[in-house]
Symmetry: C2
Subunit: 268 residues, 2 copies
């Protein structure tokens, strides 16, 4: 239901005030992976409610615990609270509830990323073939329906596009919205959760890897164009994996870092 | 006030129930860096309150926002709430308040790390000279009093012990409690916040770097003995730095990963 002037993201993560610190939202099923909405998409509506009451415009640090899958195509209630505000930071908590059950709970610090003083300490982007030599992520590759493809255009490194192909727990590629809407800092947490699990590169398809907790640090406002991303699983034990990721804009500037702990579901 | 049978940590992070979901604690000044308690130490009492109501024993993911400095030598009130519990995870929130002001607010997932199935995907420990060739962290090196030394024995890599010496934003070394109490999963978030800022290695002393947000992922129960740690600043912009760290036990097993965003205070 995106209008000509509104991005899919803006339309499908919109929140409407219903009281002090509460908003309603309509969770779309267009961002699903299989039958569940992408976690980063669920987070986006909570982030938007936070932004409405934050004294600072850009999310700097966003931690989300995924308590239960969300319901695509169902309404939701968003709550957000400003815990503290100061000159540099606003600190907030928030949650998304559907059908009386909390689906995700988040904590975030917002700041102003418009003022930049650079240092030589940063992460360099990975080498990636040009977009047209990369491989569009399809649901077929992963054995699931991927409605998310209608919203996110993800092109994976040709050496990493098939499960087990990389031989290492890495995945990298180019990402943007299918409507080519310019990407801002509010979009980055979603894009940091839109790549397939990097474990697939080393282990092949090993079932679903639901996120337990995801923390995204936004570093800079992105320049227009494609975002490149690179993700690596750094540790796996007791069926719990850690995956580190980073996003860069087309100029090669680091725009976000992410880390998540996920649960490797073994087949019974 | 540690008894012969109780570690400094156990005695000085103890929480006493005062009502449903509330505890009292006494914040010691023995864990101070300069005039403020170490952030990881403040977190420890909140973590202990969480553990009291968690259905799982080990912290897996712990995110803390540091809203205001804590008061060493002053009493505090701890709150904790069990948000959700399931077969694999307990999810909790918590906070520490002193003098009516919230000092830190945390969100955590607990699990059982006793059951381990290993995979080849992990982080290898850094090469470190033996403990006796490393350099004890002293307050002199950093231009501050360091009461924390009475509680934490930290030996820094001899090539990284002086500010600016490493030439790179890294710091590594060996760490344990001064009372040599065996380290468990509840101690690891504190130890992940006890090294000097790795930025010092590249930039020299550049003022205080207060933590905005710290997330620690505990990976395994540590074997007895020293813990080795390695920390690196991955990005610095707009006076906000990201530092990644990891801790390994004496067998070389990865026991925790950490990431924090900190604020580089510039001198006026």
């Amino acid at each position: 239901m995106s209008s000509r002037n509104q991005s899919f993201f803006a339309a499908e993560t919109a929140v409407t005030p219903t009281g002090p610190g509460t908003w309603s939202t309509q969770v779309s099923d267009a961002w699903n992976i299989g039958t569940n909405p992408n976690g980063g998409y669920l987070l986006a509506s909570v982030l938007r409610a936070m932004a409405e009451i934050s004294d600072h415009p850009d999310p700097l640090s966003v931690t989300t615990h995924f308590l239960r899958p969300g319901g695509g195509g169902e309404p939701g209630e968003v709550a957000a609270e400003l815990i503290r505000t100061g000159r540099t930071l606003s600190t907030l908590s928030g949650s998304l509830t559907q059908g009386g059950k909390t689906r995700i709970t988040s904590m975030a610090a917002f700041t102003d990323l418009g003022e930049v003083n650079e240092s030589p300490i940063t992460l360099e982007p990975p080498d990636l073939p040009p977009v047209e030599q990369c491989v569009a992520r399809s649901g077929d590759q992963q054995g699931v329906d991927l409605p998310l493809r209608s919203r996110i255009d993800l092109r994976i490194h040709p050496d990493q596009a098939l499960a087990g192909q990389a031989g290492d727990a890495v995945v990298s590629g180019w990402i943007r919205f299918t409507d080519d809407h310019p990407i801002d800092t509010m979009n980055l947490p979603l894009l940091a959760d839109a790549f397939p699990p990097s474990l697939f590169g080393a282990l092949g398809y090993i079932g679903w890897v639901p996120t337990i907790e995801l923390t995204v640090h936004v570093r800079r406002r992105p320049a227009p164009g494609w975002i490149r991303g690179s993700f690596r699983s750094s540790d796996l034990t007791g069926n719990k994996m850690i995956e580190d990721g980073a996003l860069w804009d087309e100029t090669g500037a680091l725009v976000a870092q992410s880390r998540q702990v996920g649960l490797l579901l073994t087949q019974e």
